[in-house]
């Protein structure tokens, strides 16, 4: 099948990916971590399939360092989607507690809700947020989450994305992959930073890779 839609990606680079020491003003308490959490790794993988459908895969390993991290910030993951043309698959979800104990996220921790912005709006009643309530959280715990969101073909004007390469917490290893069929051209630009993606032709595959690894 010939795919005619353009493939455009824009990457915005902000210099907050690694742990950046703030100006330490007098009075800081040395025992307090400098951030609430850190991402041990994050993978964002976009795939344009040959039939025009799209896959977005997100994988994270996130270590929680403070009470605020699990009480206020990262206890739940919200994934917005439209079930009419998107299918969400949770590939893996578990927590490794500080003592190494693995806690699988139970089935009752996956709950669909109507996004609050769609409340009372019949036309947007089909939208959903999948709320993942991460269990077994404590200081030192690592959240492991891996999901894929498949979007049926003909629902977006183009295969495109806009990734801001910045998070509110430090990331040790961020990888962004964009997979497109070899016969298609991918337009992309890295804004506010320098660097070229590593391009790999996957052996025996119809895909080529565009990859940033920071």
């Amino acid at each position: 099948m010939k795919i005619t839609i353009p493939f455009i990606f824009i990457f915005l680079l902000f210099f907050v990916l690694s742990i950046v020491a703030q100006d330490q003003k007098p009075g800081s308490v040395s025992s307090i971590p400098s951030s609430d959490a850190e991402y041990l790794s994050v993978l964002k993988e976009y795939t344009l399939n040959a039939d025009g459908s799209l896959d977005y895969r997100y994988v994270k390993e996130q270590k929680l360092l403070t009470y605020r991290a699990f009480q206020n910030l990262y206890g739940e993951t919200f994934i917005s989607y439209n079930p009419d043309f998107q299918k969400l698959t949770i590939n893996k979800c578990f927590t490794v507690m500080a003592d190494g104990k693995k806690v699988e996220t139970p089935s009752n921790a996956f709950n669909e809700i109507l996004p609050s912005f769609a409340a009372g709006a019949p036309a947007f009643n089909g939208l959903r947020d999948m709320v993942i309530t991460h269990t077994g959280l404590e200081r030192g715990a690592v959240i492991n989450l891996d999901y894929t969101l498949h979007t049926a073909k003909d629902n977006t004007p183009a295969f495109m994305g806009n990734e801001v390469l910045a998070e509110t917490e430090p990331i040790k290893d961020l990888t962004i992959k964009v997979k497109v069929p070899q016969n298609e051209k991918l337009f992309f630009k890295l804004v506010n930073g320098a660097g070229e993606p590593r391009k790999v032709v996957e052996t025996g595959s119809r895909f080529s890779f565009g990859m940033f690894r920071i």
């Binding site: 009075g27 308490v29 009470y67 009752n108 921790a109 959280l137």
Partner: protein, 648 residues
């Protein structure tokens, strides 16, 4: 085109447009936006008919007719939605009709009803909503809704209609608000109770027309009230349900029955069974515990801090049943009842006798034993035989075991011997002190330099600690800095000291700021005019009383603060050499037992001192307390408005 014509024809058939209707005269007489200029909708009638079965199951039909008064009302009524919990309740739209202003009646096709997961925050129990899109309305249009409901908020049983039977089987209760945000011309509540049951009821905060008669095997009670007008709220007043007309009904004979039931339902479920992992954790937590109080404190704070507030459903039984301790221990999350249950499990594992209790955060529980609860807590039996309340939900990083933000609040313990409704006591304001101490030096050029320290305890400590604890460490300095900058934007904060906000069990939070403020005093020749920071409401955000508007000369309704509080402020200011008093405001003494304020200046040589002490004795205040409360706040405010003048 053919498809369009077919769809249009189907729409015409399904909408069944016709003129006239049973309520045209009623709607015409009801009034419009001119008669109700401040309201969006007018509820013509709001009728509820409840049919109680022997099992406690109720079939409810509600019937409302609401008229659109303006565009806001049109928007509000354009979609009709009701929430329900599918585990224990069933709702069904029976009829939705639009009565157009021109006399046409549009019957809404109920096949288009939407049934979907409800928006949620923090509690993800699978609640759902059903919605009918009414569409565009105009002022003068009206919407009629007939809704059938059966069921309950909570589920314990799961066989056919059984799942809709309330957890306290065979009993029925209801809380019916006879107030609304819109004007209501007539509200009627009718309930049929089996003759074998005894219904207790009371109409609070007003009067209603009441009747009862026998209809076959039921006693039918009817309560009705006409011309309900929206309440005019007063700032910081108690909850509307405390002062607005409401009806409470219950077939439960007394609170003790409810207490015994609550005890048994959780014991039968095994909510508090321990596990080797829990016992090991309890041993770890209690290693080195000094005494009974220390053990209780350690376990309470562990549950408060380590079990985060986030609700996931255990399915059948969710609601009144507390999650098993093993489940919460693994999940490390839950709502109030699950945090309470975790603490009960741990206390029992440590050898204590401990039970759950229900309470109502935010409003009063009246004495008819209808379930007026929204919160669950823990009780522990001390060695002296007394029960002590613990709230692991409300005390994360707070130096209390029972939150004093819940003083003067009703509660019901689920005890093996049963209990009556109780009320928590007032917490001494000294338990929630704030001490602000300043040492400053005013220079002849009008600049000020110095250091201020704030230290607090109890709920006040929690507020001060929150300045740090609730934010990422990198903004702590800025947060402290802002306390000066919002008074004096040109201030230069040179140093901020603070104790570890997470080490709350070790010490109260203490924050100090060193600063200089160029141009602090207005200088005119040899005259300097200024208001000391201590009098100018430094650290105002931690003094809840200063957030009260004092415009109201008197109040119609009781009012509330977050907690009782005692505020002591003292500043010693060194003045330039040879300063003389131009104008130094005197002292003020205001208030009485409910609230009081005493403060003022002294000038000795080149040292100016400002000292004040304010006491706010309660959380819930009566209307008669307002003059004292108001006078105390105004006295403190007056000092911020009166500058000191000195001559060099």
């Amino acid at each position: 085109m053919k498809t369009f014509i077919l769809l249009f024809s189907l729409c015409l058939i399904s909408l069944k447009i016709h003129a006239g209707g049973p309520y045209q005269e009623l709607l015409a007489k009801a009034g419009d936006g001119l008669k109700y200029p401040n309201d969006a909708q007018l509820v013509i009638f709001d009728s509820t008919m409840v049919d109680m079965q022997e099992s406690g199951l109720t079939y409810v039909v509600s019937h409302t007719l609401s008229k659109v008064l303006n565009s806001k009302g049109a928007q509000e009524l354009s979609a009709i939605k009701y929430g329900y919990d599918p585990l224990s309740a069933y709702i069904e739209f029976r009829e939705v009709n639009i009565y157009k202003k021109d006399g046409n009646v549009i019957k809404i096709d109920l096949k288009n009803m939407m049934d979907y997961p409800a928006p949620a925050h923090a509690i993800y129990w699978g609640a759902r909503e059903k919605m009918i899109a009414v569409g565009r309305l105009e002022p003068g249009d009206a919407v009629e809704v007939v809704l059938f409901k059966k069921g309950f908020t909570y589920a314990l049983l799961q066989d056919d209609d059984d799942k809709y039977i309330p957890p306290m089987r065979g009993h029925f209760y209801d809380i019916v608000e006879f107030f609304d945000s819109n004007p209501v011309l007539e509200k009627v509540y009718k309930v049929g109770i089996p003759k074998s049951k005894t219904l207790q009821f009371q109409f609070y905060n007003g009067e209603a027309q009441v009747s009862s008669w026998i209809e076959k095997d039921k006693v039918v009670y009817t309560f009705s009230k006409k011309d309900l007008v929206p309440f005019k709220s007063e700032s910081r007043m108690v909850a509307l349900s405390d002062i607005a007309p409401k009806l409470l009904l219950s077939t439960s004979p007394e609170w003790k029955t409810k207490s015994l039931w609550f005890y048994k339902v959780n014991e039968d479920f095994g909510s508090f069974e321990s596990s080797p992992e829990i016992k090991a954790k309890v041993s770890e937590i209690l290693n080195g515990a000094k005494d009974e109080q220390d053990s209780i404190a350690r376990l309470t704070h562990w549950c408060a801090d380590e079990i985060r507030y986030s609700g996931i459903s255990m399915g059948c039984g969710e609601g009144f049943t507390l999650h098993k301790g093993s489940m919460t221990f693994t999940d490390r999350c839950g709502v109030c009842k699950d945090k309470a249950g975790m603490l009960i499990t741990m206390l029992r594992a440590a050898g204590f006798k401990s039970y759950p209790a229900m309470t109502m955060a935010g409003s009063r529980i009246d004495y008819i034993p209808a379930d007026q609860f929204n919160h669950c807590v823990t009780v522990v039996k001390l060695h002296n035989g007394k029960y002590k309340l613990l709230d692991p939900t409300w005390v994360p990083f707070i130096r209390e075991l029972w939150s004093s933000a819940e003083q003067q609040q009703q509660y019901l313990m689920g005890l093996p011997e049963g209990a009556d409704l109780g009320t928590t006591t007032i917490s001494d304001p000294a338990n929630h002190y704030i001490k602000i101490e300043g040492n400053t030096e005013l220079l002849a050029d009008g600049s000020l330099k110095g250091r201020f320290t704030i230290q607090a305890e109890g709920q006040s400590d929690a507020a001060v600690r929150g300045l740090l604890k609730n934010y990422p460490p990198e903004v702590w300095f800025q947060n402290i800095e802002k306390e000066i900058l919002k008074l004096w934007p040109q201030a230069i904060v040179t140093k901020a000291d603070y104790t570890d906000p997470f080490a709350y069990r070790e010490s109260t939070e203490k924050i100090s700021i060193e600063f200089s403020i160029p141009g602090f005093a207005a200088v005119s020749g040899k005259t300097l005019m200024f208001t000391p920071l201590s009098a100018a409401e430094i650290f105002k955000s931690f003094q809840g009383q200063l957030g009260f508007e004092t415009d109201l000369a008197e109040r119609k309704y009781p009012f509330r603060d977050r907690c009782s509080r005692q505020v002591s402020i003292h500043e010693t200011m060194s003045l330039p050499a040879n300063s003389r008093a131009g104008r130094v405001p005197g002292s003020l003494n205001a208030g009485g037992n409910a609230a009081s304020y005493k403060g003022g200046y002294t000038l000795k040589g080149n040292t100016l001192e400002f000292t004040s002490k304010a006491v706010f004795a309660k959380r819930i205040y009566e209307t008669t307390d307002w003059p004292e409360f108001r006078a105390s706040v105004e006295a403190q405010n007056k000092f911020s408005e009166k500058a000191v003048v000195i001559e060099l």
